[in-house]
Symmetry: none
DNA sequence: TTCTTTTTCTTTCAGCAGCAAACATTTCCC
DNA sequence: GGGAAATGTTTGCTGCTGAAAGAAAAAGAA
């Protein structure tokens, strides 16, 4: 029997029973248990099933996991960026945080400080920032985007226009190889544009792994940023490219700076 | 049965019941209690639940961060009020929730519904309401009050004035013995006044233990409400007094109604 | 309150089943 | 036939589970 045939049978079995025991499948297919395990391994890799002691169960993509298998490494990289960003914030600064995971972490970090004014459209960031009780936190109003806990839309933009800030920390959803920024929705794009206009200095927060990925909506070239904070792992070619575009680059620990 | 299967069943059970007892799960899964505890331990590690003495409760990633431990009895009373309030909300309603703990619980309850438009100045309520992804949730903007996760101030009021809603659920900080309402801050008072003006129907959510307490700032008589939802334990004298003031009274299970 | 009882939890141990790794064998294809 | 890929076998090890005993927490009694 061919491997592909076994796979097909296993899939069929799983779809019917939603679970499969190694012993049972080994019996049905008349192959050794090792082979079944190896098949399971491949199918797990394909995302079809989840292996478990004794067998496997059907993979349910909609299953609620919360932050079960959070990527610890990405998290550490983000934390690195947060530390650098926080160091750039001066006491009594008025800053804006656009929505995103790194900004949520930054907000939490800044909640330890005092005397800051923090403006944001991300509800989680707003709550994080207000935790310490020593800063002034302003949350923009508007309709909540379903997947990312931030508000957006015309109300948000109108709210935003009333403010002027010293510095805005921006997160995007993709950065192409020639350093063009992109985001996943029209609303996000509009908000970032508005925030950029309302700020003296614009800083991009970006995990180095984001580079090379493209999101749905093009936002503009990286030169719309005054500075970028990313991880040291960023490939040298990008470091040089950013430097040549006169954007300040902070790679977490050691800064590799161009002109302002 | 595989460990992964048990995990999945426990997850499902928790999502449906919000809490799970060791004994009960041990019974359902037909495994020893030790095994259930070990499963709980793993799921706790994954951030899915929080273990308690005797069982576990669902870990709500947002709620948990912003709440201290709650008084269980008060919580049950509040839940009673929430059930009644939720029953009053019709599909496609446009409702406003002012800040407060009961409204945060109500928001979570309503997140199971769909087609609602929910307006609120409480960030936790906003996040709770948007959890299901099937409702339109609008969060008012403004400055965050340090102690209660809601926004207020002139921006909030200006935001609020743009909207008109079918029903507003109001929470206050105190109700005197002659049924005058009071709150703890000027901002809160202004927001409630504004919300009352923007709504067809005003409902007060109030734990029966609140009566007799007075907060800093007087808001007005209970007649500014169209209806009140509280617990059955409310003393009869108050029930009669509310009835005589022509305010509809819902005492959770059985409604004791006056005229509109 | 303080003490006692009961329930629940943690830890340890033992038995078993399942597993990975290395190596052996078979099959397939050139 | 020779090499590569797939499959099978053996071995020692790990992980899962439940029982039991002691620790801790909650509930009840004085």
């Amino acid at each position: 029997m061919f491997a592909a045939e076994r796979k097909r049978i296993i899939k069929k079995y799983l779809l019917e029973n939603s679970k499969a025991e190694v012993v049972k499948i080994s019996d049905i297919l008349d192959v050794s248990e090792v082979t079944v395990r190896r098949d399971f391994e491949k199918l797990e890799h394909e995302g079809f099933l989840i292996r478990t002691h004794g067998g496997a169960i059907l993979h349910d993509p909609h299953e609620k996991t919360y932050y079960a298998e959070q990527d610890m490494e990405a998290d550490e990289n983000n934390q690195e960026i947060v530390e650098t960003a926080a160091a750039l914030v001066k006491d009594e600064d008025i800053i804006m945080l656009t929505g995103g995971h790194i900004n949520q972490l930054l907000a939490r970090k800044l909640s330890e400080r005092q005397g800051l004014t923090i403006l944001t459209n991300d509800l989680v960031a707003a709550l994080n920032a207000s935790a310490g009780g020593m800063n002034r936190v302003i949350c923009l109003g508007g309709e909540i985007e379903q997947d990312n806990f931030s508000v957006s839309g015309s109300i948000t933009l109108r709210n935003m226009q009333k403010y002027h800030v010293n510095r805005v920390f921006v997160e995007v959803d993709g950065i192409s190889e020639n350093l063009d920024l992109s985001v996943s929705s029209q609303q996000k794009s509009e908000l970032i544009e508005s925030a950029v206009q309302s700020s003296d200095h614009v800083t991009l927060l970006c995990n180095y792994e984001l580079i090379g990925k493209r999101a749905f909506l093009s936002l503009g070239p990286i030169t719309m940023m005054n500075s970028v904070i990313t991880n040291p792992q960023l490939a040298d070619e990008y470091k040089i490219a950013i430097y040549n575009k006169n954007v300040i680059l902070y790679t977490s620990i050691n800064a590799f700076e161009g002109n302002v």
